[in-house]
Symmetry: C2
C-alpha cells in the first residue's frame, strides 16, 4: 500500500498541490470550505505528511539527538523519560545515541550530527580525557546543545545541573555528624564536572569539620569494574580501615556492598555508606542504601524545554544559562544508624 501524498490528495480533490498544502497548514489564504474538503479527505485517507520532504524544504527536522553514555542506569533512563515527555508534547522526535563512555564514539556521533539530521542535541558527556572539539564544532555549526548532569567545563552553552558540590558537602557532613572520622571518597578519574564538583564538596566538608584530608582517603576508580573491586577491597583491608564510604557513583557503592559481604564487614556498624544514586529500590537493600538522589526526570524535562525554547528563537541562539535542580539526601540506616 503506497502512502498517500499531497499530489494524490490534490488529484482526488481536483485542486492544486499548494492549495492542499496550505489548507492542511490552516493558512488564512484558503477558504473554509476548501479547508474542510481537504481535511476530510486527508483524514479519510489517513494522510501523513512526509517528514523528510518538509525537513529538507524547511531546513529543520523537529528532531533532537540525545547523546548519553548509557541507558541502563537509573539516572539516564529517568532523564530520557523526562526528555521524551516534553518532546512528545512539543511534537519533536528523539534520536538516541549511546557512547558507552567512549569519547571517541561521542566525537564520531557529534560529527555525524553536523549533517542536519537534528535541530539540537541533549548531551550528558562521557568520561575520558579526550578533547571536546566535537562539541565546539556543533555549536559553531549553529546546532544548539544543552548539557544535563555531566558537562565539560569551559563550553559556553546551556546546562541543566544538579548541585553536586553542595549535596556532596551535605552527604559528607551527614557522615561526619554520625561520627565518621575516616571517610573514603570513591571517584572517577576525569575532569567532568560531576567528578570535580563532588570531590570539592567532600573536601569542603572535611575542612569545615577540621578533618585533614589524607591521600589514602581518595580512591580514583575507572571503568574497569574488576579493578575497582580490587581497589575497594584493598582499601577496606588496610590497617586504618575507613569508617565510611562516600561513592560519587552508584556502581562503586554496590561493589562496596559486595566487598563488605565478602570480607564480613558489617554495614553500617563497621562501615557507613552513602552514594549518588537514583535506584528506586535502594530502600529495599540490606541495609537500605543511603543516597543522594538526583532529580533525573526533572532534569530531562528542563533540558528538553531549554533546548526547544532555543530552537524556536531565530538564529537558534543558545544562551549559556545554567539551571540548577537540587538533589535530595536520603539518609537511611546504612549511614545514620550508629550501632
Amino acid at each position: 500500500m503506497e502512502p498517500i501524498n499531497l499530489k494524490g490528495l490534490a488529484a482526488q480533490l481536483g485542486i492544486s498541490i499548494s492549495s492542499v498544502s496550505k489548507a492542511l497548514r490552516d493558512s488564512h489564504e484558503i477558504s473554509p470550505e476548501t479547508k474542510d474538503r481537504v481535511r476530510a479527505l486527508a483524514r479519510e485517507l489517513n494522510y501523513q505528511p512526509n517528514p523528510y520532504a518538509s525537513s529538507l524544504r524547511k531546513q529543520k527536522s523537529k528532531t533532537i539527538a540525545v547523546v548519553i553514555p548509557e541507558v541502563a542506569n537509573h539516572f539516564f533512563s529517568l532523564a530520557i523519560n523526562g526528555i521524551e515527555s516534553i518532546a512528545q508534547e512539543r511534537d519533536y522526535h528523539v534520536l538516541i545515541y549511546l557512547t558507552h563512555e567512549d569519547t571517541a564514539k561521542e566525537a564520531a556521533i557529534c560529527k555525524h550530527l553536523l549533517s542536519g539530521r537534528v535541530d539540537g542535541v541533549l548531551m550528558s558527556a562521557s568520561m575520558g580525557a579526550s578533547s571536546h572539539d566535537h562539541i565546539q564544532e556543533l555549536l559553531l555549526h549553529n546546532i544548539p546543545i544543552v548539557f544535563f548532569d555531566r558537562n565539560w567545563p569551559g563550553i559556553e552553552t546551556a546546562k541543566i545541573m544538579t548541585n553536586d558540590r553542595e549535596s556532596a558537602f551535605g552527604a559528607t557532613e551527614h557522615l561526619i555528624q554520625n561520627g565518621c572520622k575516616n571517610i573514603l571518597f570513591l571517584s572517577l578519574t576525569s575532569s567532568l564536572n560531576i567528578n570535580t564538583d563532588r570531590l570539592e564538596g567532600f573536601k569542603e566538608a572535611l575542612i569545615k569539620y577540621n578533618q585533614p584530608l589524607r591521600r589514602s582517603q581518595l580512591i580514583m576508580c575507572d571503568l574497569d569494574d574488576e579493578m575497582n573491586q580490587k581497589r575497594i577491597r584493598r582499601a577496606l583491608m588496610r590497617n586504618n580501615r575507613p569508617d565510611a564510604i562516600f561513592s560519587s557513583i552508584e556502581k562503586m557503592a554496590l561493589t562496596t556492598y559486595e566487598v563488605c559481604r565478602e570480607l564480613g564487614i558489617r554495614i553500617p556498624a563497621d562501615l557507613k555508606i552513602i552514594c549518588f544514586s537514583n535506584m528506586s529500590s535502594a530502600h529495599l537493600m540490606h541495609p537500605p542504601l543511603s543516597t543522594v538522589r538526583q532529580p533525573a526526570f526533572e532534569m530531562g524535562k528542563q533540558a528538553a524545554s531549554v533546548l526547544f525554547r532555543s530552537l524556536e528563537k531565530k538564529g537558534r541562539y543558545i544562551s549559556n544559562e545554567e539551571i540548577v535542580v537540587p538533589s535530595t539526601l536520603i539518609a537511611r540506616e546504612s549511614s545514620s544508624l550508629s550501632k
Copy 2:
C-alpha cells in the same frame, strides 16, 4: 557556519554535482583520480551528506523506531542497549517513543510512523485491552515490525520472545519443591502474551504437582500502584495466607517486599517470593530477590538484527518467525531457604 553540500564541493572542484555524488559513493564510473580529489576535499571540509535529502530521494531513512512502554525499567533499558549497539554497527538511527502503557498513545505513534519517517519498527506492546489495528496498518503499509518480549497474539510478524511459559513453570516448580502449597500469582489484566503465557506456566506446574488452583491464588493487578498495594496487602492478611508469591512483574514483587515489612511478614520464612525481573541489584536486597531473569540485551540485539535483515530484502518482506531466547531462574534465599 553553513553546512557544506554537494553543490559546494562540486563548485570548489570544478566538476559536476553528480560526479561528486558518484565519487563519494565509490561508483565504478568515476576515475580513481577524481575520486581521490573528491574524497580529499570532502574530508577536509568535513562534508556530511544531508540525510533527509537522500532519504527523500531513496525512500528509505536508515532509521527505525523503538516503541516501548517505558524506559525506566531494567528490561527495556537493557533491550535498548542491545538495539542501539546493532543499529550503530549497521549505521541505522534509532528513534525512541514511549507509550507509558497507554494503547491510545501507542496507536497514535504508529499512525504517525506511516509517514515514512522510519524503515521499520521494534515494539514491545503496551498493556490495555484496545484493538491492535494500528499494528496491522503498519504492516499493510509495508513497514516491518519486530516485536520483542511483549506482543499481541495473532499478528503475523517476527517476534523475539523469551520462554515465558516454561520459565514460569520452572519458577513455580521451584517454589513447590521448596514446600510451598499456597502460591499466590500476581498478574496483570491484559491479553498480552507475557501475562497469559506466564499464567499458563504457573497453572501447569500446579497441575503437575496436584495442587488444585483456587480462585484466591490469582490476583489481577493493573497500572495503579496504590491499588495493587492494597490488593497485595489484603491477600497477605487473609486467613489462609499464601506461603509464596510469584509475581509476573517486577514492580509488584517490590511492592510485596514493602507490604511484608509493613505487616511484619518475614521473607522467606513466612513468605517466599520470586518474580520476573532484570534488576542488577536483586542480590543485594534483603533478602536477595529470586528472579527469572530475561535475556534483555540479547533480545534487543536479536530484534534489531531480524529487522535489519528484513529491511535489506526487496519488498521489505517480513517473515513471522519466532525466536525464543530462554530466561534464567536465579533462585536465592528469598525463595529457596526453608528456614
